[in-house]
Subunit: 205 residues, 2 copies
DNA sequence: AGGCGATCAATGATCGATCATAGATCAGTC
DNA sequence: GACTGATCTATGATCGATCATTGATCGCCT
């Protein structure tokens, strides 16, 4: 068993999921292409069960489509699919910001950390990760665990990656708004929710 | 095999999931109680695999908690857990309403149907279902499939049921606001999003 | 040729068995 | 008795095999 190089140990399902996500975002599996459970299983030297588990996660992330008794295929992401993420994110993060204003009570250290890291970032992937981390911090600061769970399940990282693959990189430049938002949190501006909403929507194509 | 009475045929995982949901909402499994995969499997006359599949769904619905290698247990829903749902719903449905205003363009027939059905409803369960259906209609009308998917994954029905079990039934009486909201949709009032937001939050404890 | 049912191959869904880990239990030492 | 480590047990995680469904292929009939 174990025909593949690196599967160290954390629960096979998780590792397989990452392999599949990487494969889809990198384009190794083309949109519309079928993902056959047994084929993946053989390829990775595992059995069908953990592969199925991973596939259900991908389905929840809407990276694949599955039909009963007919298996999974990589979704053919339309521009509309990518665009749909932004109103949802904007709504969730607006809610988060409104909740977070009270909880933070002007304590914005955690947010500033991400601004600094973003400023220090060099390559594109790093910029993306720190930029997302700032938004995640807002969601965390809301204190609403359900909100956090829903936001995470959107798989922002993955969709952002796909979005970057699709169109050019127009990601940066928005960093200044992070500072504005942080200042709004510091002074507990009730408009911060709307600011975050507008900021998120400004990423939309 | 098949020691249980009614498992007709739609995919075992789905049926098992429903059995488990019913069991949790009805209180047959108490909060904090462990759910042992094999035990359920034997009880329903199936194998472990579809039970695991069902459990992952319950986890996504946040009805259970699971720890790696240590199994699942019914969540001990705090009042806070129940309360957390409302800001998230409110944010999502506000977003949905704002999107739906344009798409509906004043066509509110689909919404009115649910108002009528709600008015004709007799027992509490029916009231709940039709009330939820009205909200679902708004989400559908947004045309944003991701939004629909996220909203559905909140499992509103289940959480509402749990909420009703917890406190008394203070569900009805809000029906009038549905009419107001529908009118706002008819005249394409840009404030409809905020109306929906406020309406949803008014259910919160 | 076109339609229609039988047969087949591929593969998802399910099964029963095994492996591996977390806790509980017990034995031994001090 | 308290601590340490070996052993045992329950059970989640994974496996290999089988069942069942789907779509394709083939042959027959009209």
């Amino acid at each position: 068993m174990n025909a593949s190089p690196a599967l160290v140990r954390t629960g096979l399902g998780d590792q397989i999921r990452q392999v599949l996500i990487d494969g889809i975002t990198s384009g190794r599996w083309a949109p519309g292409e079928r993902i056959v459970e047994r084929r993946i299983a053989v390829e990775l030297g595992v059995s069908q069960a953990p592969v199925r588990e991973a596939l259900r996660h991908l389905e929840a992330l809407r990276l694949i489509e599955t039909l009963p008794n007919r298996g999974a295929r990589v979704r053919d992401f339309t521009d509309e699919d990518l665009a749909e993420v932004f109103p949802v994110r904007a709504g969730l993060e607006e809610t988060a910001a409104d909740l977070a204003v009270h909880r933070l009570a002007g304590q914005v250290d955690a947010l500033e950390v991400h601004i600094e890291r973003l400023a220090a970032a060099t390559d594109l992937g790093e910029v993306m990760r720190h930029s997302i981390a700032f938004h995640r911090e807002i969601v965390e600061a809301s204190g609403n665990r359900l909100l956090r769970s829903v936001w995470q399940s959107l798989g922002i990282e993955v969709w952002t990656t796909l979005s970057l693959r699709r169109r050019g990189t127009e990601l940066c430049g928005k960093a200044a708004e992070h500072t504005d938002i942080t200042e709004a949190f510091r002074r507990q501006d009730p408009a911060v929710g709307r600011m975050v909403h507008a900021h998120v929507m400004s990423y939309a194509p």
